[in-house]
Each structure stands twice: as structure tokens, then as C-alpha cells.
């Protein structure tokens, strides 16, 4: 570069700072501060949950996680019921939503007639943004009565005494419980997962897909052995994002899960999730230790979702997907 040719003038004379350089520094500082504030808020969530939950954590110790007693009258709290409820509903929702979301995404990228492609794709993306309380209300007022009438009653009638089916379907056929809550959750995360998977599949280069078709592969083979493996890591990330939403979802579940803190005994039995328990009881908590127990529940939920979401983001990052 030409810099080397410049005559060096000893130690450089102190140059006057250009006008506005202070503004520049202040601006950069502000931007840095904003980014740090973001970090601080995440740290703040952990710290505040720890502080708020400490009375319960120190009183019940590690047993808090494994005891299923939740009794505001005697002030004895154990989180096992809600924790198990959270994991079961999220897992069931994922099992139901995943094949359907995959099917929708494959349909939209490979099978859909061209004129319908954009409208259906847009509709799916828009539905992903509908507030979850709408899904919850629909579940409570429309889905639950239908579910009780057409699914619960016939299944319970068909179950032979002593059979596995009977064990799975005991409960009160009022349309609320673990399975209905999982179904509503599945419907709620479905558009989100379908839209994310579709977006991922669209990133597969056309040449890759076309060469697979050119070799004579059927549509099923192209999707299952070429395009899906191509975005494998991102797809796992997308699924885990959906799982994260299902784990932390409050409103879609609270209405319909039945809110009992015991271990759910069957698919139709009522249960609770961490989020539904907090939503239902927090403002009506009867004692400081009750509030603290609810906040410790929040801490447990935070740790679970943080791991799931963190892994999801790492996988999406490696896929290079911007979602």
C-alpha cells in the first residue's frame, strides 16, 4: 500500500478530534448498552426466579422436584405433578403435531398445485401468529364438549374392564384432561412448525431436488432421502423450537387441562402443567411460601426450556438458517 511511501514524521502530531466524534462514541456506547441490557434481562430472569423461589427451595430442598404433594392448606409443596404434566403434554403434542406439520410442509413444497401454494403457505404463517388464548378458548368451549361426546364416551364404553384401554381412559368424561390439552397444544404449535419446516425445505437448492427427480426418484424418495436429510439439523432445531413453545405455553393449556396437581393416572385424567399452575394460582397465592413455590416452579420451567431452546438454536445456527 502507499502508506509505506509516506514520509514518517516521527511521533504523529496529535490530530484535532473531528467534530462529532463524541457523539459517535456516545452512540456506540448506547448501542452497546442496549445489547448488554438484553443480556442483563435474561440474567435478571434467572436471578429473580432464584431469589423469589428461594424460601421454597431452601425449605423443601431437592425433594421439591420429586414430591407430588401440592397442598396450600398445610403449605407443603412438591412440583412433580406439574413437571410430569408439562413433559407429558408437550411430548404428546409433539408426537401428534410433528407428522402433520411435516406432511403440510412436504405438501407445500412438493405437491401443492402452484396457484394454491402461496395462499396456503401464507395462511399457515398467519395462523402461527394467532394468540394462544384463542386456541385455549376454542378448546374449552368448542373442542371439549365434542371431545367428550365423540371420543371420551365411546372409548370408555368400549374399554373392557381390566384392559390397557381402560387404564388409559379412566377419568371424568367432561372433555378436559391430559389428552385434550395435548391435542389443543398440538393444534397450536402445528402452524408454527409447518411454517418453519417449509421455510427450511425452501432453502434446498433447486439443482439438488431436480437432480434427484432426474435420477428417477419418486416424490416420496426425493423428500425423504434428499431434501429432508439436506436440512436435517435445521429440521431438528425447528422441532425443538416447537417443543419449547409447547413446554412453556400457558393459555392454550390452562383452560382445558383440569388443574389437578396429582400425577395424572390416565390420558383423560385431569392434570396440570407448570405454566397452568402458575397462571391459576399466582395472584391467589395464600402464603409467601406458596408464592415462592410457584416461582420455583417457574425456575424449573426456565431451566427445561432454556436447554431445549438453546439446543434448538445451536442446530438451526449450524444449518445456517435464519428463523
Amino acid at each position: 500500500m502507499s502508506d509505506a511511501a509516506l514520509p514518517s514524521a516521527g511521533p504523529p502530531a496529535r490530530r484535532a478530534k473531528p467534530r462529532g466524534s463524541l457523539i459517535g462514541q456516545v452512540f456506540e456506547g448506547l448501542c452497546f448498552g442496549a445489547a448488554t441490557l438484553l443480556l442483563a434481562s435474561l440474567g435478571g430472569i434467572i436471578v429473580s426466579l432464584l431469589i423469589g423461589g428461594w424460601p421454597a427451595i431452601s425449605k423443601f430442598g431437592i425433594g421439591f422436584l420429586f414430591s407430588s404433594t401440592w397442598n396450600p392448606v398445610t403449605d407443603v409443596y412438591g412440583a412433580a405433578g406439574p413437571i410430569v404434566g408439562t413433559l407429558i403434554t408437550a411430548a404428546l403434542a409433539l408426537i401428534m403435531a410433528l407428522p402433520i406439520a411435516g406432511g403440510v410442509a412436504f405438501f407445500l413444497t412438493e405437491l401443492c398445485p402452484a396457484p394454491l401454494r402461496r395462499p396456503i403457505g401464507t395462511a399457515v404463517e398467519l395462523l402461527a401468529g394467532i394468540p394462544s388464548i384463542v386456541y385455549g378458548m376454542w378448546g374449552l368451549f368448542v373442542f371439549a364438549p365434542l371431545f367428550a361426546r365423540w371420543i371420551q364416551l365411546p372409548l370408555m364404553a368400549a374399554a373392557k374392564p381390566g384392559s390397557i384401554l381402560e387404564a388409559l381412559t379412566t377419568g371424568i368424561p367432561n372433555g378436559s384432561g391430559i389428552l385434550p390439552a395435548s391435542i389443543i397444544l398440538a393444534i397450536m404449535i402445528l402452524p408454527f412448525m409447518a411454517a418453519t419446516l417449509r421455510e427450511l425445505l425452501l432453502t434446498v437448492p433447486a439443482a439438488v431436488r431436480e437432480s434427484a427427480y432426474g435420477l428417477g426418484a419418486t416424490t416420496a424418495e426425493v423428500v425423504l432421502s434428499v431434501t429432508l436429510p439436506y436440512v436435517r439439523q435445521g429440521a431438528i432445531g425447528a422441532v425443538m423450537l416447537g417443543l419449547g413453545r409447547a413446554l412453556g405455553e400457558t393459555m392454550a393449556v390452562t383452560f382445558i387441562i383440569g388443574n389437578s396437581h396429582a400425577f395424572p393416572k390416565s390420558l383423560f385424567d385431569s392434570g396440570s402443567t407448570i405454566a397452568s399452575t402458575i397462571a391459576n394460582e399466582f395472584t391467589e397465592a395464600t402464603s409467601p411460601i406458596h408464592t415462592a413455590a410457584l416461582i420455583s416452579l417457574g425456575l424449573v420451567l426456565f431451566l427445561i426450556t432454556f436447554v431445549v431452546l438453546g439446543l434448538a438454536r445451536l442446530m438451526l445456527r449450524q444449518q445456517g438458517a435464519k428463523l
Partner: protein
């Protein structure tokens, strides 16, 4: 290739296609059913009272006016806070420190925050602003909503700023403008549309959030006095819907449906506008 294998592949393909068509149909039917009952029940509960009167006690006349105003106030305040922090943080990631280790950490945790359960944000703000001051307030509600909006705005801001071409920055700097001036006057300006899209998406995200408001803004049967004072408990649509839906009274439930319709319609409208803005941006 044997004929049997070919036949098996064909059958597999047909099964796959039927499955995809089937589940897409199923999904669309389920989602259409939700929208349908929202429209029917929501319009059934909608009348002039909804927009002019405050939350009723069960059995008397009333509407959602106080909740609509409360929700709007909180969302606007939340957006003002979130836009300030979000755009600055996005700018830092895109223009200043995004390539550093610290930048990578901020970006990663922002992505986690983006999908963190909203109820935890509610608990955090409860501990931060409600418990110490011994009172639920609309202000705390707005802060909770802002916390949910910031990651969305930061993310979109970083993405759209990085899309602006490097020559634009170089041209500005070559003309002798300080870099911060280039960022504010040239880069932000040319990324206007993208920043607007991010803001709209964030607004759509927070306008239906219920869980964090349950322990921050709580609720209020009436308008605040004066109506814009967010230092008191403040009525808001999501919590009114939540309480109404769980109540045993038909009129409160009807009101809840009307509120749900209002929220869903707002979210859909804002999202559609955001998409249109993004399209325009892409075209120009």
C-alpha cells in the same frame, strides 16, 4: 430393477402423497374450524356497547372500552421502550460488535429470549416491579410486553441492517461523515422498511399476550383515573378475556369471544401489513 420393487416404490409414493394431502386437509380443517367459531361467536358478542362501556359485572350491560384503551396504552408504551432498546441493540450487533465473542453470546441469548415462555417474563417483572412497589400496575405490564418485543426487534434490526450494502457505508465514510452519522442517517434510513416490518411483527406478538399480564397489570373493572395513568392496575383485553372465559356467566363469555375476535383481527391485520411492507421493500 425388478417389477416388484418398482411396484413397491410406486405404492410407497402414493401412500406418501395421500398422507401429505390428508394431513394438510386435516390441519386446514382444524384451523378453519377455530377461525369459524371465532368469527361466529365473536360477531355474536360484538355490539356498540363493547366499544363504549367498561367491563360489566355479570348480568349487567357493559363492554370492553376500558380494556381496549388499557391494552393500547400498554402496547404503545411497550413498543416505545422496545423499539429504543431493540434497534440500538440490533445496530450494535450489525455495525459494531457483532463479530466479537460477546456479540455471539448476545445474539445466541437473544434468540433464546425470542422463544422463552412469556409467563416467565411475567414472573420476572412481578419480582422486579410489582413486589417491591406493593402493587400491580399498567406500567409493569408494559415493561413485561416490552421484554417480549425487544428480541423480535433486535433480531429483525440486525438482519435488515446487515442487508444494507457495504458500499453504502463506504460511500458515507468516504464523504467524511463520522461512522455513527452514517449509521443513523444512511443505514437506518435505507433500512426503514425492514425496521418497520420488525416493529409490526413485534406488535403483533405482544398484543395477544396474556400470561405475563396476569401478574403485572392484573385487571380493573373501570377506566383508570385519569384514563392514561398506568401507575394503577389496568384493564387489558387478554386478561378480561381470560377471566370472562373462565367465568360461569354467558354474557361474560360472549364478551370474551368478542374480545378474542378483536385481538385476533388486530394481530392478523398487523401481520398482513407487515408482510406487505416487507414485499414492497424487496421490490424496491
Amino acid at each position: 430393477m425388478s417389477a416388484a420393487k418398482l411396484a413397491r416404490r410406486r405404492i410407497g409414493d402414493v401412500v406418501f402423497k395421500v398422507f401429505c394431502w390428508g394431513v394438510t386437509g386435516l390441519a386446514l380443517i382444524a384451523l378453519a374450524a377455530i377461525l369459524w367459531s371465532l368469527l361466529v361467536q365473536g360477531f355474536g358478542g360484538l355490539n356498540l356497547d363493547v366499544f363504549t362501556m367498561s367491563t360489566p359485572a355479570a348480568g349487567s350491560r357493559g363492554g370492553l372500552a376500558n380494556a381496549i384503551v388499557g391494552s393500547l396504552l400498554m402496547c404503545v408504551l411497550a413498543m416505545a421502550l422496545a423499539l429504543t432498546v431493540g434497534i440500538l441493540a440490533g445496530t450494535w450487533l450489525a455495525e459494531y460488535g457483532g463479530r466479537s465473542k460477546y456479540g455471539a453470546v448476545v445474539r445466541f441469548l437473544n434468540d433464546v429470549l425470542l422463544s422463552a415462555p412469556s409467563i416467565l417474563v411475567g414472573l420476572f417483572v412481578y419480582e422486579l416491579l410489582v413486589a417491591p412497589f406493593h402493587g400491580f400496575s399498567g406500567f409493569a405490564g408494559a415493561v413485561a410486553l416490552a421484554l417480549l418485543a425487544v428480541p423480535v426487534i433486535t433480531r429483525t434490526a440486525e438482519d435488515v441492517l446487515l442487508l444494507q450494502s457495504a458500499t453504502l457505508r463506504e460511500a458515507g465514510v468516504a464523504l467524511g461523515a463520522p461512522f455513527s452519522y452514517v449509521v443513523r442517517q444512511i443505514i437506518w434510513r435505507s433500512a426503514r422498511g425492514g425496521l418497520l416490518t420488525g416493529a409490526l411483527l413485534a406488535f403483533a406478538r405482544i398484543s395477544g399476550e396474556t400470561a405475563p399480564l396476569l401478574f403485572t397489570a392484573l385487571n380493573n373493572q373501570f377506566f383508570n383515573k385519569p384514563w392514561f395513568d398506568l401507575r394503577q392496575q389496568t384493564a387489558n383485553l387478554p386478561v378480561v378475556i381470560f377471566n370472562g372465559a373462565l367465568s360461569a356467566y354467558d354474557d361474560l363469555r360472549r364478551l370474551a369471544w368478542a374480545g378474542a375476535l378483536l385481538i385476533a383481527a388486530t394481530v392478523l391485520a398487523v401481520t398482513i401489513v407487515a408482510r406487505i411492507v416487507a414485499q414492497e421493500q424487496k421490490r424496491s
